[in-house]
């Protein structure tokens, strides 16, 4: 009888179309192997704390105090918590009516949205309106809310970079829209060009698709490139002339590992461009507590900021947010602390800076170690991880390997990654999970394993890769790519 109630055939087709490789086949296989006792190094998802990165001390102190306010009444609390954490906790609790356990405003606590607005103002040099900032249970929920508002049906297309973080393709599939790819050029450091964008849009329109929005991920995921100011201007100009909403995924803005292209927000560039575009171009920018040097993925904290979205549309977006009542309050506090961290002179400042710098400097070193490690393999070419948390090496696979993969019913990069997993315990995500040009293969790994483990991991990879190439390459001593 239950087969009548809900069988596979009668499921919403859109759900069936969804793919999310980050926790797909490779991850499931890795989890199986782990249960069987194999040591697995999970580099499939940007999850720093799972690979040993420690949480920053100060925010955990503040949130713990907010969680258990009776501590604040205890005279011994100062034995366990520094005075500035205690003060901050009291401060945040005063913003709530009922502490962490009450639904807040559906947009998030106003005072925290003000902190976010102040942060944006300091970062960009332009004011930001707290009423247009919505805190969400992670940036992903915000992305989904916006895409759901935009997509009316399969006639609506969203321009998404390829390779992309597959939240975008998954959400577009779920909401019944059309995925309109624009290809990043690997040989040009994963650059994008307005000409390419124009071509993608023209092709979509020729198929009868109305292109509604464009996604940029800056710094890129999985590609890591940091967009230049000129690039951002081109993108903004393009969206303006094609009438697209720009969705700026900026969750990795704190993760920058080179100095030539520091992070610059799409909003800042837009405002710098002046009117009329700065008053008319519709932009939604996303940020999170999951990445950066905070890495607080498990809290599920994020926000989006709306620029030039008409007030009636904002009302509708508010309405949908209100159905879920409110984002989780502890994560809102993490967000407040992230945008308004300890300042010079605060008791916890030195420790906070030491912990933060330690993480960022180590990430920068690991980005380099990994890129160089991959590039030392003859069949691998890897663009430098300029930002974000990933390495996305291109791996040339010999024809016989591709054949064997086909026989096994797998895409070539999936085949390779499964073998890598079985041999080394390194759990990556095949490039096909992010999109890539036909016949070109990649894998995505994170740069997050502990620094002391990095060399061993790269050695392990190289050993596997050499053996794989020995097995499948027709001409040993294969030429460098």
């Amino acid at each position: 009888m239950s087969s009548k109630a809900l069988d596979y055939e009668s499921l919403n087709e859109n759900v069936k179309k969804v793919q999310y490789a980050v926790r797909g086949e490779l991850y499931l296989r890795a989890s199986e192997l782990e249960k069987e006792g194999k040591k697995i190094i999970f580099t499939n998802v940007g999850n720093p704390h799972a690979l040993g990165q420690k949480p920053l001390t100060f925010p955990r102190q503040v949130v713990a105090l907010c969680q258990a306010p009776f501590l604040l009444d205890d005279s011994n609390v100062s034995l366990l918590f520094p005075a500035d954490a205690i003060a901050r906790a009291k401060h945040y609790l005063s913003y709530t009516s009922g502490g962490l356990g009450a639904y807040s405003d559906s947009r998030g606590l106003l005072e925290i949205r003000k902190e976010v607005a102040d942060f944006i103002g300091r970062r960009d040099g332009y004011p930001s309106d707290p009423e247009l900032i919505y805190l969400t249970d992670g940036a992903s929920k915000g992305v989904m809310q916006l895409l759901n508002a935009i997509i009316r049906g399969e006639g609506d297309g969203i321009l998404v970079p390829v390779p992309q973080y597959p939240l975008y393709s998954a959400a577009i599939a779920l909401f019944g829209g059309s995925f309109v790819p624009y290809y990043l050029e690997e040989t040009a450091n994963w650059g994008l060009s307005a000409a390419d964008l124009g071509q993608s849009v023209a092709q979509a329109r020729a198929k009868g698709i109305t292109v509604r929005a464009m996604v940029i991920i800056n710094p890129g995921n999985p590609t890591g490139q940091c967009l230049s100011e000129a690039n951002l201007r081109d993108v903004l100009q393009f969206c303006y002339q094609e009438n697209l909403v720009l969705l700026g995924d900026e969750v990795y803005q704190q993760n920058i590992y080179q100095d030539e292209r520091p992070f610059i927000s799409a909003k800042k560039v837009l405002m710098d461009m002046g009117g009329p575009i700065s008053r008319e171009l519709q932009l939604v920018s996303f940020h999170t507590v999951s990445k950066g040097y905070w890495g607080e993925c498990g809290q599920r904290g994020g926000y989006f900021e709306m620029t030039n979205i008409p007030s009636r549309s904002v009302e509708e977006i508010y309405k949908v947010a209100s159905i879920s009542l409110s984002p989780n309050v502890p994560a809102q506090i993490f967000m407040g602390l992230m945008v308004n961290p300890p300042k010079p002179g605060d008791i916890s400042y030195d420790q906070f800076v030491r912990e933060s710098k330690g993480i960022l400097e180590s990430l920068r070193r690991r980005a380099r170690i990994m890129t160089d490690g991959f590039n030392s393999c003859m069949n691998v070419v890897c663009n430098f991880t300029e930002g974000a948390m990933y390495s996305f090496p291109q791996i040339r696979l010999p024809p016989r390997a591709i054949e064997d993969a086909k026989k096994a019913g797998k895409a070539a990069d999936v085949f390779y990654c499964l073998k890598l997993l079985e041999a080394t315990g390194i759990s990556t995500v095949p490039g096909s999970g992010f999109g890539q040009k036909e016949g070109v293969f990649h894998l995505r790994t994170t740069i997050l394993p502990a620094e002391e483990d990095m060399l061993e991991i790269m050695e392990s990879f190289k050993k596997f890769n050499n053996e794989f190439m020995e097995q499948y390459e027709d001409h040993p001593g294969y030429p460098r790519m």
Binding site: M1, L6, R60, N76, G101, Y103, S140, I150
Partner: protein, 483 residues
């Protein structure tokens, strides 16, 4: 040139269509009044706005359960467990429980994304809790931890609704998450009416009638939503009633969506909560017989932890290939917030006899529940004493849903103000007393009947004032509009 990308003309029409009155128009007005009071004290005939629109206990003074918060604080900042001073500030069993939980989290990393269904050890604990509650086993692999029960409901609607030809049977009155979610996912809400005259009774004959009517209109009905205890109606189903419902779903091939978030809010000795899973299993029905999704939350009960966004759904009777799809959709969001997951496991596994915190936990829990029962009764009596107002008992949940019989003059005045009559009443009530309630039209009601939903949550010492302000307002209103 296409119209500007995101305007009300180009926004997804399903977004336009959905409504959610719990934080709708009346609440927006209330927020404005609250700001006016702040800027100009004395500018209104009341000192404060009393939000009785939303089941948000801690915002109105209810205190959290100490044991739960102790454990959560320790899990938020595990290095506390390494300090000797901690034992002076935290109970022994909260420290033990925190250790136990942290040992179930790889690397004790509460800041890491977990398994997309939630941390495995916590799901084990929840499954044990379900088994202890029901007397029937629960599989941790059937449990999906979510950011509150609402996202789980959305996920099921997404799965079930292919087009507007797919219908979901929903009670009228209902908690408008259901109508909103169905609209957002492009489906059709198939209403079944609860009978106000019989304490909001749910008749299977009514279910059948509405099902057949929908079918004849070309709607494929996929599921039945039952909210037990009811929201906004507060009735607790009898076991016999529940058996009939299970039988009905089995017979008609419907997925049973059991919203059981108020399972710990029961205020009358003659009723008890029985989960639909327990009822189905006691009837001898297993996974092959009935597809059942049960929703629970940390937001209600006696814990009232709305702001944490914790909850789960237990999914039983679905084939493996469907569960894979549910897992897949869950994985796109990676996981629910860890603190909420931990709290869900605590709610389903509170302190037991012999634990250091047991007595204080019981005192806190019973204090809250008995107070809720008293407040429910006082307000119910107050409403019933008003002219033209009848109010069914709140056997459970957190709300009263009185029916107001509005005089014709009031209905006309509402029409002139371009407002539904119950919204007109609620706005007048707000402006006169500062009390915020939600018009019945936000929940659905038999046409030409009017209601509003009021929570029982203001602190006990405020209840007499709420009751008297309401009484005074109502008298004035009737004096103005009486036929």
């Amino acid at each position: 040139m296409d119209p500007t990308p995101l305007t009300v003309d180009t926004i997804n029409p399903k977004v336009l269509k959905c409504e959610y009155a719990v934080r709708g128009e009346v609440v927006t007005i209330a927020q404005r009044l609250q700001q006016e009071l702040k800027d100009k004290p004395g500018s209104h005939p009341f000192d404060e706005i009393l939000y009785c629109n939303i089941g948000n206990p801690q915002s109105l003074g209810q205190l959290p359960i100490t044991f739960f918060r102790e454990v959560l604080a320790l899990c938020d900042h595990p290095s506390l467990l390494d300090k000797s001073e901690t034992s002076g500030l935290f109970s022994v069993d909260s420290i033990e429980r925190a250790w136990k939980i942290l040992d179930q989290i790889p690397g004790r990393a509460t800041g890491a994304y977990s398994h997309s269904q939630g941390i495995s050890g916590l799901r084990d604990a929840i499954a044990s809790g379900i088994e202890a509650r029901d007397g029937f086993p629960s599989d941790p692999n059937d449990i999906f931890l979510t950011d509150g029960a609402s996202p789980a409901v959305h996920m099921m609607m997404q799965l079930l609704i292919r087009s507007e030809s797919d219908g979901i049977l929903c009670p009228i009155p209902q908690y408008p998450l259901y109508s909103a979610s169905i609209a957002l996912h492009g489906g059709t809400l198939v209403p079944y009416y609860l009978d106000e005259a019989t304490g909001w009774g749910l008749e299977v004959s009514e279910l059948k009638k509405q099902l057949d009517s929908a079918k004849s209109n070309g709607v494929s009905v996929r599921a039945l939503v039952v909210i037990n205890p009811g929201n906004p109606t507060g009735q607790v189903l009898s076991e016999e009633n529940q058996r009939q419902i299970v039988e009905f779903c089995k017979k008609e091939g419907l997925v049973l969506l059991a919203d059981e978030v108020y399972q710990e809010n029961i205020y009358v000795p003659e009723k008890q909560f029985h989960s639909f899973k327990k009822v189905a299993r006691s009837m001898g029905y297993g996974q092959e017989d009935i597809a059942l999704v049960s929703f629970q939350s940390v937001s209600k009960g006696y814990y009232g932890e709305c702001g944490k966004r914790g909850g789960y759904m237990e999914v039983t009777g679905f084939a493996a290939n469907i569960r894979e799809q549910i897992y897949k959709v869950s994985s796109v969001n990676l996981c629910s917030n860890i603190s909420g997951q931990i709290l869900a496991s605590l709610v389903m596994n509170p302190p037991k006899i012999g634990d250091e915190s047991y007595q204080s936990y019981c005192a806190e829990r019973d204090g809250i529940l008995s107070s809720l029962a008293r407040r429910a009764k006082i307000l119910e009596d107050a409403f019933n004493s008003l002219e033209g107002v009848t109010c069914n008992k709140a056997e459970g949940a957190m709300y009263l849903f009185p029916r107001i019989r509005l005089p014709r003059k009031a209905i006309k005045a509402a029409g002139a103000a371009n407002t539904a009559p119950d919204a007109f009443y609620c706005k007048r009530l707000l402006n006169a007393t500062g009390v915020v309630v939600v018009p019945g039209s936000g929940f659905g009601q038999v046409p030409e009947t009017w209601h509003f939903r009021c929570t029982i949550l203001p602190q006990e010492d405020k209840i007499p004032a709420v009751a008297s302000r309401l009484t005074e307002f109502h008298k004035g209103f009737m004096d103005e509009f009486r036929d």
